[in-house]
Assembly symmetry: C2
Homo-oligomer: 263 residues x 2
């Protein structure tokens, strides 16, 4: 295997396209933004686009393609949405049917592709400012929780916000807010700091998705809106058909995280 | 006439609803955000929403309503889009047909309402930081120019970006950038600073829309993406039917400009 860690986004997408990489993309193409994928038939597209417009923190749109289009224009110039993601999940009426490595044969002229920002981008920024990210230290998935905060509904799409949690030491919480505030297109500033019960989370030790992580004495739980929200909302709406990336198996873009930052 | 200058957004909307105010809204409800209006039949709505998503600087969406809905949920709790704007423009196939004071009788179940941010919000912030705004000093409309910068097309919508220009003294240009950077939902930071010819503007003394303003010796022309862009793009696409606000006759929201700021 080639030194995939050092490869460019385009080289990695080519490797994935040729079937040479079907594992998670965390740690690949460091510095470049990775994106969540949602593909929906056209009749759901306006509602979902509206849902994202109304809920930009959990659903930060990086790029939306016109019906039938599978080539990105903004995030990458030489990408094919049908082949360049390591693993896809296919859902029928909200139920996971199968996991596949490409969707060329399934492609339809009415498919609308949505690419959404991912927290990998701001975690890199936190690390650069020496703010430790616990689940990375522990080599785990970030812990995620279903809250009692309702998203703003749009058409058939509605549901609670899902958040990710990172324990931060008290003197670094301000800095963590400042840093992530710059990245509005990848979830932005925290939506809640402190008391988990205030947003309907009973037990930090039992996340709804991902892994539990150690919270050291005095550390503050800091909650960010999470990209699992749009997927949960889509599953709940039970569209006839939907394709997403498999968790952790993201689209790798040519856009630097720094290019996504506000200021 | 009541002291309309001191009235709350809701009081002013009521006054407009009852036919008691059909003039421009500049200077009313100071501190509160005003919004541009575009209403399109549903079959154009996905394309236009996508156009706004791809061109957030000229087309900063503040709120989009579902088909047939005429009550805002976010910008105001007690507003009626059909009556609460002082003057509406009705277009058929891209041509202005008539100006009216309400659209209750014209309303259709397939109308989708888009409300977009307006530069009034950031001008207030500039003034608060003692950065003079020339067209306000001269009691004129801001000068606007059609540039050679193409917007990113979406479906049937495409066209050049329209910009507004404010001359700023050199030592205040940085501060003007910093201040307006906070307001991404009302056009955000300038898109160009200096040489007008680089963006296809031949003569600052002859704006395409609005009024010419004095540029004092040494002042730098600073260009912001302008809310006339989406209107120009819609007119060019010639939809069967379209309703907008009449220029300067905006929707007055309950949201403070400061609530729209990033940081």
């Amino acid at each position: 295997m080639k030194r995939v860690n050092r490869a460019s986004p385009n080289e990695i997408r080519l490797l994935i396209r040729r079937g040479g990489w079907d594992r998670p993309t965390a740690g690949l193409a460091m510095g470049y933004a990775q994106a969540n994928l949602v593909i929906l038939p056209e009749r759901y597209a306006f509602d979902f686009l509206l849902f994202c417009q109304r809920n930009p923190k959990p659903c930060p749109l990086l790029e939306v393609l016109e019906p039938g289009k599978y080539r990105t224009q903004f995030l990458a110039l030489d990408a094919d949405i049908r082949t360049d993601i390591p693993r896809y999940h296919l859902y029928r009426k909200g139920k996971l049917e199968v996991t596949v490595k490409e969707i060329k044969n399934l492609w339809r002229a009415d498919f609308v592709t949505f690419l959404l920002g991912c927290s990998f981008s701001f975690e890199e920024a936190l690390l650069r400012s020496r703010i430790p990210v616990r689940h990375l230290e522990e080599n785990k998935n970030v812990p995620m929780y279903i809250t009692n905060i309702p998203c703003k509904p749009a058409g058939i799409f509605h549901g609670p916000m899902v958040v990710s949690m990172r324990p931060i030491s008290p003197e670094k919480v301000s800095r963590a807010v400042q840093i992530t505030s710059r990245y509005t297109s990848v979830h932005g500033a925290p939506i809640h700091i402190g008391d988990p019960s205030a947003i309907g989370i009973r037990n930090l030790g039992r996340p709804d998705f991902g892994d539990r992580v150690k919270i050291k004495k005095g550390e503050v739980p800091v909650f960010w809106a999470c990209g699992v929200t749009p997927q949960a909302v889509v599953m709940k709406a039970k569209p006839d058909f939907c394709i997403t990336h498999a968790p952790g198996h993201m689209f790798i873009s040519d856009i630097l995280n720094e290019e996504l930052a506000n200021l």
